[in-house]
Structures are given as structure tokens and as C-alpha cells.
């Protein structure tokens, strides 16, 4: 499976790339929603893993565009919340945006890997699960 990771923090992109490549995935990186869309057009990825709050509503817009332009792509959102959204409303927002799964930062990479395994082994779309509670 090819993965597209979108996050505005370069250390987050780097560390996720190292971990996901170790797990055997091909990883494409993007610093924002617009670049992620371009990357998808250039070379199709199977799963988009994106921070939901990069800039004002950049992540949300990207998710909406992905849903309309690339409906087969699975979407996993991740976030530590933002200035406007608390953890609880973040979960609601993620659902509204049409994400297939949601992770709250910081998360154990194992959770992400589990979700990816479910995507690859299932033919039918995975229903939206409850997002993981924040690691304590």
C-alpha cells in the first residue's frame, strides 16, 4: 500500500516516514493540504494520513477535496487539537469531514499500523470508528 502523510511539522513527517517504511510501506510526504492533492494527482496513494489542523482549515479542505476527487482513498486524520477545537469537537469535526479513522496526537505507531492492516485486509470500506483517546 502506498501512503501519503501530510503534516506541517517536518519532524513529524520524518519520524512517520521512518516508522512506516520500516513497516514495509511506501511513503510520500506533503507539508500541507494543497501539496498533498498535487502529490495524489501525480502518483496515486491508497491512504491519506493527515493532520486536520494545518493552517486555518487547510486539512479539512484537503479532506473534502480528496473525498470528492479521490473517493477510493482511505483517510486517517490525526491531531493534537487546535486553537479553535478541543479534543471532543475535533472528533466530531473529523467525522463530518468524512475520515475513516482518527488518531489523537501523540499516538503509538502501533495503532496506526493496526488501522492500516484493517484497510488492506478489508474489501469493504471500514466504518468510522471511535477515535483513540489521547495517550496518558
Amino acid at each position: 500500500m502506498r501512503l501519503l502523510v501530510a503534516d506541517d511539522d517536518s519532524d513529524m513527517r520524518k519520524s512517520m516516514q521512518l516508522l512506516l517504511e520500516r513497516a514495509g510501506y511506501e511513503v510520500e510526504l506533503a507539508p500541507d493540504g494543497a501539496t498533498a492533492l498535487e502529490a495524489q494527482r501525480a502518483r496515486a496513494c491508497d491512504v491519506l494520513i493527515t493532520d486536520i489542523f494545518m493552517g486555518e482549515s487547510d486539512g479539512l479542505e484537503a479532506i473534502e477535496k480528496f473525498r470528492s476527487d479521490f473517493p477510493e482513498v482511505k483517510i486517517i486524520v490525526m491531531s493534537g487539537g487546535s486553537r479553535r477545537f478541543s479534543g471532543a469537537s475535533y472528533i466530531a469535526t473529523a467525522r463530518l469531514a468524512g475520515a475513516d479513522a482518527a488518531l489523537t496526537k501523540p499516538f503509538e505507531i502501533g495503532r496506526l499500523l493496526e488501522t492500516l492492516q484493517k484497510f488492506s485486509s478489508a474489501d469493504a470500506a471500514v466504518s468510522t470508528r471511535d477515535p483513540d483517546p489521547p495517550a496518558r
Binding site: 506541517d8 511539522d9 519532524d11 513529524m12 520524518k14 519520524s15 512517520m16 521512518l18 516508522l19 520500516r22 500541507d32 489542523f53 494545518m54 493552517g55 486555518e56 487547510d58 490525526m78 493534537g80 487539537g81 487546535s82 486553537r83 479553535r84 477545537f85 478541543s86 479534543g87 496526537k105 501523540p106 499516538f107 503509538e108 505507531i109 489521547p134 495517550a135
Partner: protein, 365 residues
């Protein structure tokens, strides 16, 4: 007789405006406090309808009030708006009681009016402060969690990977993110300490130039990373100020960091010191995203961030300018912000009293 003299005296000397009217809404009495509150003397209003005290859009409150009074009802702390003789409007709280004669028949109403402008202002301030606190907690949560995510991943990499190159990268990530979180925590502690007045200032005579140079050195990596050009203009001879070197340098480096943060890559930042009759003005300018007229008045407030720029900026708590203002005040100085508007750059000017101009006594380290 004695009792009614006593009551009359109480009404006259009360701090509250006490007004009475008949059932047609005509003013029948008017105490001294009412004169002060509304600006009309008693002869000017007695015999006139109470509606002259109301702004046009409130006049239809009167029939409802009179109806309730006729039923013998009291109206407690009814908040509304009234109008003074000079036409100005103000927020008021009214309590209205029916006046009854010996047979228990309602013959009019007595009104106590209180100016609540000040109370409403304080309430609004409290609501704003509460909202700011909530926003700050949301920012804090977000800014603190974001570095934790790559740190968590870096730790996992160190646990799992033997490859030295991967381990090197993981350690580099940890180093950067720890440094970032340290700055956030420092800012948080600073703001908390300064709010409590708990700052340990060690002031000494020092040449302003050394402080500016120290601030520039601190910010040099950020400015170079963004490809900004820095123009420095310092006077030829030393300018001595009585300052805590670290804290004053912190003010200047906060301004330089903001300039670097809020200017697109390849911008120009200028630092200029100009002495003028007992005061040294330190100006930090940039040709960056500027400050809108709406944002300018709040720019030194706590927890402010320019939203649109967040993506280009490394984040932070938004307390840098609030800190700069407080630290400047602790040095007996002032700080101001100017901008021609969005995308037209900004200029911040710090003014500090000068101890002396000429050969300095402070060591330059």
C-alpha cells in the same frame, strides 16, 4: 410629621436616583441623585412624561410598566437604557414599586434608577478574560501536544531500530523538539511569573549596543534559516541604560523573532537605535505580513497570534509581545507597534530611559 421629614431627607440624600410618577406616567418627584444622573433639574421634569428619559426605541416599555404597577406589582432590577438631558444614552437598572394611598389604591409608582455602565464594562472584561483563558488553554494543549507526537515516534525508532543512521535522525528529532518545548515552557513560566510580579530583575549600567548584539546573536539562526537580510544601525558612541541585560535582550529578541516569523522568506529586517533627549529608541522593522488596523490595538495582549500566519510560523504560545511589554515597563520604558496594514510590514519601537551617553562603564561580554 417627624417620620415623613425623615423619609423626605432619606430620599433627598440618597445616592440612588429616586423618581415618582402618576398612573399617566407623569413625573411627580425627582431627587438630587436623579438630577445628577439625568442632568435635568426637578423643575425641568416635574409635570412632564417619564418617556422624555427614554431613547425612542425604548418608549414602548412604559405602557407595560404602568400596567404592572396598576396591578400592584413590583419590578425588580429591570435592565434597560435611558437618555440624559444632553442626549447621551446609558445602561441603567430600574426597580419600580407601586405607590398606594390610605385606601390601598395604586396612585402611581416610585422608581429607583442605578447607572450600571461600569458594572456592564467589568462584566464584559470578565467575559473577555474568561474567553482568553479558554483560548489560551486550547493553544497550550495544541502547542504542547504537537512536539510530543514526533518525540514519541523518535523514541519508538530508538527502541526498534539498530541502523545508526535511523538512530541519528531519531536523536536529532528528539533534540529539536525538546528545545522547542523548552521554549514553550519558558514562555509559560515567564508569563506566569511576570503576572504575579515575581520577576528577579538584576539591573546594572550597560551599553545598549551589547544588549542589541546579544539579542541579534540569539535570533541569528532563525533569521538565516528564513533567508532574511538584517540591517543594523547603532550609534557611534555608547549609550548606557540601567537594565537587566538578559531581560532587555529578551525584549529585543522577542521582537526579532516575531519579525523573522511573520515575514516571508528572503525578507528584510532592520534594527536601529536612536538616542533622543534622555531616551533611547530601539526600532525593529520588517517588510513582512504587517498588522491590520483591527489587530493593532490588541497586539500586546496575552495569547494573541496572527491566525493566518500560523502555518509559516513555528508556533508558540503567543505571549512574546505581552512579555515584551511587561519587561519594558519594568525598565521604566514604553513599547509601541506601527504598521501601514496587511503585507506592509511592521515596526516596533522600544523606548528606554538613558543613564548617560558617552564612554560606557558596563563590561561588554
Amino acid at each position: 410629621m417627624r417620620e415623613s421629614l425623615l423619609l423626605a431627607a432619606i430620599v433627598e440624600t440618597s445616592d440612588d436616583a429616586i423618581i415618582s410618577k402618576d398612573l399617566n406616567g407623569i413625573i411627580t418627584s425627582w431627587n438630587r441623585a436623579a438630577e445628577r444622573l439625568f442632568g435635568y433639574t426637578a423643575p425641568e421634569v416635574i409635570g412632564r412624561p417619564v418617556t422624555i428619559l427614554m431613547p425612542p426605541e425604548r418608549v414602548d416599555e412604559e405602557p407595560g410598566i404602568l400596567r404592572r404597577v396598576r396591578r400592584g406589582e413590583r419590578i425588580e432590577h429591570y435592565e434597560t437604557v435611558r437618555r440624559r438631558k444632553d442626549g447621551t444614552l446609558f445602561d441603567v437598572s430600574l426597580s419600580v414599586s407601586p405607590l398606594v394611598d390610605h385606601d390601598g389604591k395604586v396612585i402611581g409608582a416610585s422608581k429607583i434608577a442605578r447607572d450600571i455602565t461600569e458594572r456592564k464594562r467589568i462584566e464584559q472584561e470578565l467575559r473577555d478574560a474568561n474567553r482568553h483563558k479558554d483560548e489560551f488553554l486550547a493553544i497550550l494543549s495544541h502547542e504542547m501536544r504537537n512536539p510530543l507526537a514526533p518525540m514519541q515516534h523518535a523514541v519508538t525508532l530508538l527502541q526498534m531500530a539498530d541502523d545508526p543512521e535511523i538512530r541519528r535522525q531519531a536523536c536529532a528529532i528528539l533534540g529539536r523538539q525538546v528545545a522547542h518545548m523548552s521554549r514553550l515552557v519558558d514562555d509559560l513560566l515567564d508569563i506566569s511569573r511576570i503576572s504575579r510580579g515575581d520577576v528577579d530583575m538584576r539591573k546594572q549600567e550597560v551599553d545598549l549596543a551589547t544588549i542589541i548584539q546579544a539579542a541579534i546573536e540569539t535570533c541569528r539562526p532563525v533569521m538565516e534559516a528564513a533567508g532574511h537580510q538584517l540591517d543594523i544601525s547603532l550609534p557611534g558612541s555608547p549609550i548606557n541604560v540601567l537594565a537587566d541585560r538578559l531581560r532587555l535582550a529578551q525584549v529585543i529578541s522577542n521582537l526579532l523573532n516575531n519579525a523573522a516569523k511573520y515575514t516571508p522568506p528572503g525578507g528584510r529586517i532592520g534594527v536601529k537605535v536612536s538616542p533622543a533627549s534622555g531616551v533611547a529608541a530601539i526600532s525593529v522593522q520588517d517588510n513582512g505580513i504587517g498588522i491590520s488596523a483591527a489587530e493593532l490595538p490588541r497586539i500586546f495582549g496575552m495569547f494573541t497570534q496572527l491566525d493566518g500566519a500560523r502555518r509559516r510560523s513555528p508556533g508558540g504560545l503567543g505571549v512574546g509581545l505581552a512579555l515584551a511589554r511587561q519587561l519594558t515597563a519594568l525598565h521604566g520604558g514604553t513599547i509601541e507597534a506601527n504598521s501601514a496594514g496587511p503585507d506592509q510590514g511592521s515596526e516596533f519601537i522600544v523606548r528606554i530611559p538613558v543613564s548617560s551617553v558617552g564612554p560606557g562603564t558596563g563590561a561588554s561580554t
